[in-house]
C-alpha cells in the first residue's frame, strides 16, 4: 500500500520549482506539454488498465470508475514517471487504486485469507484431466478465475492475459520474485482443481 508514496515527492519539488521560477508558469508551456505527454504515454494502455480493473473488481461499472480514478492519480504522479515501461507503470497505479477501492467497498473480500492447506490438497495428475481441461469453455473459465482470491487472480491476469514476465509482475504487484512464482503455482493448482471438479460433475 505504501509503494506509491515516494511518487508524491516530485510533486513537492514541482511546487517549489513553480514558486522559485514563476516565469515558467507564466508561459504555461511545460504544463500543456505535461498533459500531452501524459496522454501519449498512458492513454494507449486503456485496454490493459480496464482488463485488470475489471478482473479485480469483477464488475464493469466499478471497473470504469476505478480506471477513471487511476488515470487521474496517474496524472498527479506523472512527474515521477521517467520513461520506461508506461504500461507496467500504469498497471501499478490501477492495481493500487483497485485495492483502495476494494478496501472501501468490499473489505470482506480482502479479509478472507486463502487457506492453501485446505484448498489445494495434493491430487494425482491424470490423463483424463488433461482432456477435461481442454473442454473448458469461456464461461466456465471466467467463473473459475473469478472464484480465485484477488491476490491469486491478479497474478494470473497479469501473466496469462497481459503477458507480463515475473519481474514485471513483481514490480506491478510489489511482491518478491519468489512470491510471484509460488502464487502463480498455487493459483493454477486451484484453477485446475476447480475446473476438473466442475467438468467431472457435468460428464
Amino acid at each position: 500500500m505504501h509503494d506509491m508514496q515516494p511518487a508524491t515527492l516530485p510533486s513537492v519539488s514541482d511546487q517549489l520549482m513553480h514558486r522559485t521560477f514563476p516565469v515558467m508558469r507564466a508561459t504555461r508551456l511545460p504544463e500543456h506539454d505535461k498533459l500531452a505527454r501524459f496522454e501519449q504515454a498512458v492513454l494507449p494502455h486503456l485496454a490493459a488498465a480496464y482488463n485488470l480493473a475489471r478482473w479485480l473488481t469483477r464488475d464493469e461499472h466499478d471497473a470504469e470508475d476505478v480506471v477513471q480514478d487511476a488515470y487521474v492519480r496517474a496524472l498527479t504522479f506523472f512527474d515521477s514517471f521517467h520513461g520506461g515501461d508506461s504500461r507496467a507503470w500504469l498497471l501499478t497505479i490501477v492495481r493500487h487504486t483497485c485495492y483502495t477501492w476494494l478496501q472501501r467497498h468490499r473489505g470482506h473480500e480482502l479479509a478472507t485469507a486463502f487457506d492453501d492447506e485446505l484448498h489445494s490438497g495434493e491430487r494425482e495428475a491424470s490423463n483424463p484431466e488433461t482432456l477435461l481441461l481442454q473442454r473448458a469453455n469461456q464461461q466456465l473459465l471466467r467463473e473459475a478465475l473469478e472464484a480465485l482470491p484477488v491476490e491469486y487472480r491478479e497474478v494470473v491476469v497479469l501473466r496469462e492475459l497481459e503477458g507480463l514476465s515475473y519481474k514485471e509482475i513483481a514490480g506491478v504487484a510489489g511482491l518478491p520474485l519468489g512470491t510471484v512464482m509460488s502464487r502463480l503455482a498455487r493459483a493454477r493448482k486451484r484453477l485446475q482443481a476447480w475446473l476438473v471438479d466442475r467438468l467431472q460433475r457435468e460428464v
Partner: protein, 290 residues
Amino acid sequence: MSCQETQALLDGYVDGELDLVRSVEVERHMQDCQACAQVYKNHQALRSAITGGDLYFSPPAHLHKRVRAAARNAHHAETRTRVWPWHGLSTAASLAAVALLVWSLVPMLTGPSAHDRLTRELIAGHVRSLMANHLTDVVSSDQHTVKPWFEGKLDFSPPVIDLTEQGFPLVGARLDYLDNRPVAALVYQRQHHVINLFLWPSPHDAEKGEQTVTQQGYHLLHWANAGLSYWAVSNLNVGELQAFVQRVQQATQNTPGTSTSFRQNPRGASQSGAAREYAREPWGWRSPAG
C-alpha cells in the same frame, strides 16, 4: 532432480522463466517420470485454455472519452490552483509541502521492520540465484579457489569452509547485494537442495545465538560470530539446515581470522574436541599466505 523439486519449478519452466541449466534438468526429469510429465501436460492444457479462452475484457467505447475528459479536468484544476493562491498562500503552500513530505516519509518509518525487509531480501536473493542463470560466479568445490576469488571484490575476507565429507559439498560462490552492501554468498548443496550461505561484517551484533525464520516455505537460520553476520537460506528441512549450520559454526567458532577445513581433520576426532584439532590456516585481511 526429485519430483517435488521438478513440480516446484514447473511454473517457472512453463513460463520460460528458468535458466537453461534448470530447464534442461526439468526436461530430463520429465523424460523419465510419467507422473511429472502428466502434471506438465495438465499445466499446458490449463494455460492454453486460459490464453485461448477469450478472457480479456475490452473497455467500452465511451471509456476513452470519459477518462480523457477526467484527466483534462483534473489537469486544469491543478494548474488553476497553482496560479491563483500564489502570493497570499505561499506560507500555507510551504507548510503543505512540509506536511506532504512528512506524510510521505511516515510510511517508510512505520513500514516493514528492517528485519522483515532483510528476511524478504534474503529469500528473494536465494530464489533469484536459483531462477536466473546466476547461482555462482565462481564454480568450484575447492575452498582454496573460492576464497581468493573474493579478494578485491569485498572489503572483508569471508571464511570458506569445505563440508564435503559432512554431506554438504561446496558448489561455488557469488557476490550478492543485501542490506545495502555487497555480501558474500557461498553455495552448498545437500542432495538436490541448494543452500545459500550469505555473510557480511556486522559490528552491531558481533556475537549472536541462532535464530530461525520460516517464510514462503524457505528456512532462514541466522547467527553472528566474530563480527560476521551469517544467514543460511534453503528449502531444506529445518533439522538438516541446523545440522549444516552447526558444522559451519564449529568450523568458524573461536577461530576469528582463520578458516578451517574438515578435510584436514586427523582421523575423525570426537565431535566435542573436533573443532580445536582441525588444522588452521590464516585467511585474514589480505594475508600473503591467502
